[in-house]
């Protein structure tokens, strides 16, 4: 049976609410409206306003409430609609949630889950198309995950709630309508990256909304005789260096795909780690495919041109084999 990413997110929240009375869902429009991306449709009716709570339009306020609730024994899931709005809650996430365990000498932990949509591709222009995951991946004290598949959209929430520290989940907006045939949904290991396609010639590292493009590129490249290994990061912090390095040591080449801008990006971090950990195994410089360094354009063709695409990945991979880009 086909399951959509949206349904998987929905079912994960529903199952969490059912299985653990400490779990609550809060955020803008999550209750009566059913969530901006319809991920919480019907949950207000099923679990009532005590556990599925609409909040005022104040990210700073309701993320703070989530932190307080977590400190006091609940397991809140806070939805921040999109990463763009999460900038208003950065202080709570970075200064409070991430730091409390350390500042209290381990006396307090913040078992909070913050979910948000991320990414571009829907013509929502410069203020609603960010990929700011790398900013969050910069912060010690939180875990950052990015489900790229329907399985992970379901499987990451449970382990995230079980984590004693804050976990931020990034759901790419372009993925909600994707679907796949799933038998039984189960928990995902949110400490490890995973190899989505094994290959021998080049490692393509991707996550979230870029995974599908990386796999498309890998299929196209296979026609040119280049066998790509595609690694899905899954966890953006802490990065699973072992899986990435093991793959690069095998293929001797790496291309990192990141929808964020490349300056100071996760792609930059991974490139550096590959250089630190596998320099003598590299047979070509590490290549990156990131978004153009401009505020995201509104016009469709410009937006598509600014984003990583399968064709750009193909060209970047080929450049590692001595073909001019």
């Amino acid at each position: 049976m086909k399951t959509t990413y949206r349904t998987a997110v929905h079912d994960a929240i529903r199952d969490a609410l059912r299985d653990d009375p400490r779990v609550v869902l809060m955020g803008e429009d999550v209750g009566r409206y059913g969530g901006t991306y319809a991920a919480s449709k019907g949950l207000l009716d099923e679990f009532g306003p005590e556990r599925v709570r609409d909040t005022p339009l104040s990210e700073l306020g309701f993320v703070g409430i989530g932190i307080g609730a977590a400190l006091n024994g609940l397991r809140p899931i806070v939805e921040v609609m999109t990463v763009n709005f999460s900038l208003l809650a950065l202080d709570q996430i970075v200064n409070t949630a991430a730091a409390l365990r350390h500042m209290s000498g381990g006396q307090f932990s913040v078992p909070l889950v913050v979910r948000m949509a991320t990414g571009a591709g829907r013509q929502l222009a410069a203020q609603h198309s960010h990929s700011l995951e790398p900013w969050y991946a910069h912060i010690p004290g939180i875990k950052v995950v990015a489900p790229a598949t329907v399985e992970d959209a379901y499987g990451m929430l449970g382990p995230a709630l079980a984590d004693p520290d804050p976990v931020v989940i990034f759901e790419h907006v372009q993925l909600y309508n994707t679907s796949s045939d799933i038998g039984v949904l189960g928990p995902t290991d949110i400490s490890r990256a995973t190899v989505r396609r094994s290959g021998t010639d080049v490692t393509v590292v991707a996550y979230g909304g870029s995974l599908g493009k990386a796999l498309d590129a890998a299929n196209e490249l296979s026609l040119a005789g280049i066998d790509c290994e595609v690694v899905d990061l899954r966890v953006l912090r802490p990065l699973d260096d072992d899986t990435i390095l093991e793959s690069v040591r095998k293929t001797h080449r790496a291309v990192v795909i990141d929808e964020a801008w490349r300056s100071g990006s996760l792609a930059a971090e991974i490139t550096a780690r590959v250089m630190e950990g596998a320099f003598y195994d590299l047979d070509a410089p590490v290549a990156r495919v990131c978004s153009a360094e401009v505020p995201m354009p509104y016009a469709k063709h410009l937006e598509q041109a600014a984003l990583p695409q399968a064709a750009k990945i193909v060209a970047a991979v080929k450049s590692l084999f001595g073909e001019p880009q």
Partner: protein
């Protein structure tokens, strides 16, 4: 003055060692005459000369390894007068310098900048490998990004170096033949290079067809019954002939992919995959298959297998195949999904003829059938033509008298 050069005996050969001269200065040479024996990684090959004349000078001594294309000897053409003093020819060095990199090498050769303004670009992994394999990276042509030296460049240079070192030894001591283990290792290496190139460059497509052999086998049994054992023809020969005739009709499966285009071959020379007892395989050609009678083909096949197994093949047999047939039937497998031997564009595989239950004309019958498969280069042909080609082989085998000729 004619230069007689080291021929390329297949796409995976970039050099050869001169084992034996069968002519000396002053000898008359006729077209097709075997003049030397050259040792490649695959076999000792008898080299034919395709020009007529008188041997003037032998340029390469026995035991020396030289690149493909190096002049081995000079001949004086009929009616031409020899120069008084033969001039010494500079031979391309056997050191793997960029200039000596053979054009038939499996990796594309990129000319390095004439005066590099920077330290030689070598990938970290290639530099480390070069140290392990004692390869001088400054002498290696880079094919990577910005013409950097990559792992495969170093491996290629190391392989060349190894051959060179191996060949240099006999210069000081009497020439010793490669041991079977060395030969097997070298053959493995050249098979690896050719097959990797094939899988890297050739977009293969595969088709299969079950061919009922009742007609062919009945016809062959009747035919063989009238002959003594050593005059009998094996079913494998019928298959070869059928492939040969079909390849003649479907030209896009008979030829070579070179550079950016397909070059149809003029004759149909079927390469026959022959596994060797010490491991490895060769696929030398039986020439002009469609023109030969079955008895001739049977003789050719017997002769070819025997000579392949004692490493004594001719240069034209190694370099001429235009399509390959591989028959693993005697090993008991049903079907073969082959890898094309570049620069060829097709390979036909046969499995074991076996009794199968078939529905024929609405009734159930037990018949002997064989799985025929086609691995073809999608750059040169499409599945539609491939299907017709495979069907043509099937149809020919239903009318075995057409194969006799």
């Amino acid at each position: 003055m004619i230069e007689f050069k080291m021929p390329a005996l297949g796409s995976d050969m970039d050099e050869g060692t001169l084992d034996e001269w069968l002519v000396k200065p002053g000898d008359k040479v006729t077209r097709g005459q075997v003049v030397a024996v050259v040792e490649t990684t695959k076999a000792a090959v008898e080299i034919e000369c395709w020009q007529e004349g008188t041997v003037h000078e032998l340029l390469v001594p026995v035991g020396e390894t030289v690149q493909v294309g190096t002049a081995l000897a000079t001949l004086v053409a009929l009616g031409e007068h020899a120069e008084k003093r033969p001039r010494k020819r500079p031979r391309p060095s056997i050191k793997p310098t960029p200039a000596a990199a053979p054009s038939s090498a499996p990796v594309a050769v990129v000319t390095p900048p004439t005066t590099p303004q920077h330290r030689r670009w070598v990938s970290p992994a290639a530099r480390r490998l070069a140290q392990t394999l004692h390869v001088d990276v400054d002498a290696v042509t880079g094919t990577g990004p910005q013409s950097a030296v990559t792992i495969s460049d170093v491996e290629h240079a190391a392989a060349t170096l190894e051959h060179t070192t191996a060949a240099k030894e006999p210069a000081t001591k009497p020439k010793t033949k490669a041991t079977p283990a060395e030969r097997a290792a070298q053959m493995r290496k050249s098979i690896a290079a050719a097959m990797s190139r094939s899988k890297r460059e050739i977009p293969h497509y595969y088709l299969a067809d079950e061919i009922i052999l009742e007609n062919s086998l009945t016809w062959l049994t009747t035919r063989n019954a009238q002959r003594s054992i050593d005059e009998r023809v094996l079913p494998a020969v019928l298959l070869l002939k059928a492939v040969g005739i079909a390849a003649e009709r479907f030209g896009e499966f008979n030829g070579f992919w070179r550079g950016d285009g397909f070059q149809p071959a003029t004759g149909v020379h079927v390469g026959v995959g022959i596994s060797l007892r010490g491991g490895g395989l060769v696929a030398p050609a039986i020439h002009d298959v469609p023109e030969k009678k079955l008895d001739e083909l049977m003789d050719d096949l017997t002769d070819l297998v025997a000579r392949a197994r004692c490493f004594s093949l001719r240069s034209s047999e190694m370099s001429d195949p235009t399509i390959t047939v591989t028959n693993l039937g005697d090993k008991g497998v049903d079907a073969v999904f082959g890898i094309i031997y570049p620069p060829q564009v097709a390979l036909v595989g046969f499995g074991q003829p076996a009794q199968r239950v078939c529905v024929i004309d609405g009734g159930i019958r037990v018949v002997t059938a064989v799985q025929a498969t086609l691995a073809a280069d999608h750059r040169a042909s499409d599945g539609h033509r491939g299907a017709l080609f495979l069907t043509a082989i099937n149809e020919l085998l239903q009318q075995p008298d057409l194969l006799e000729k």
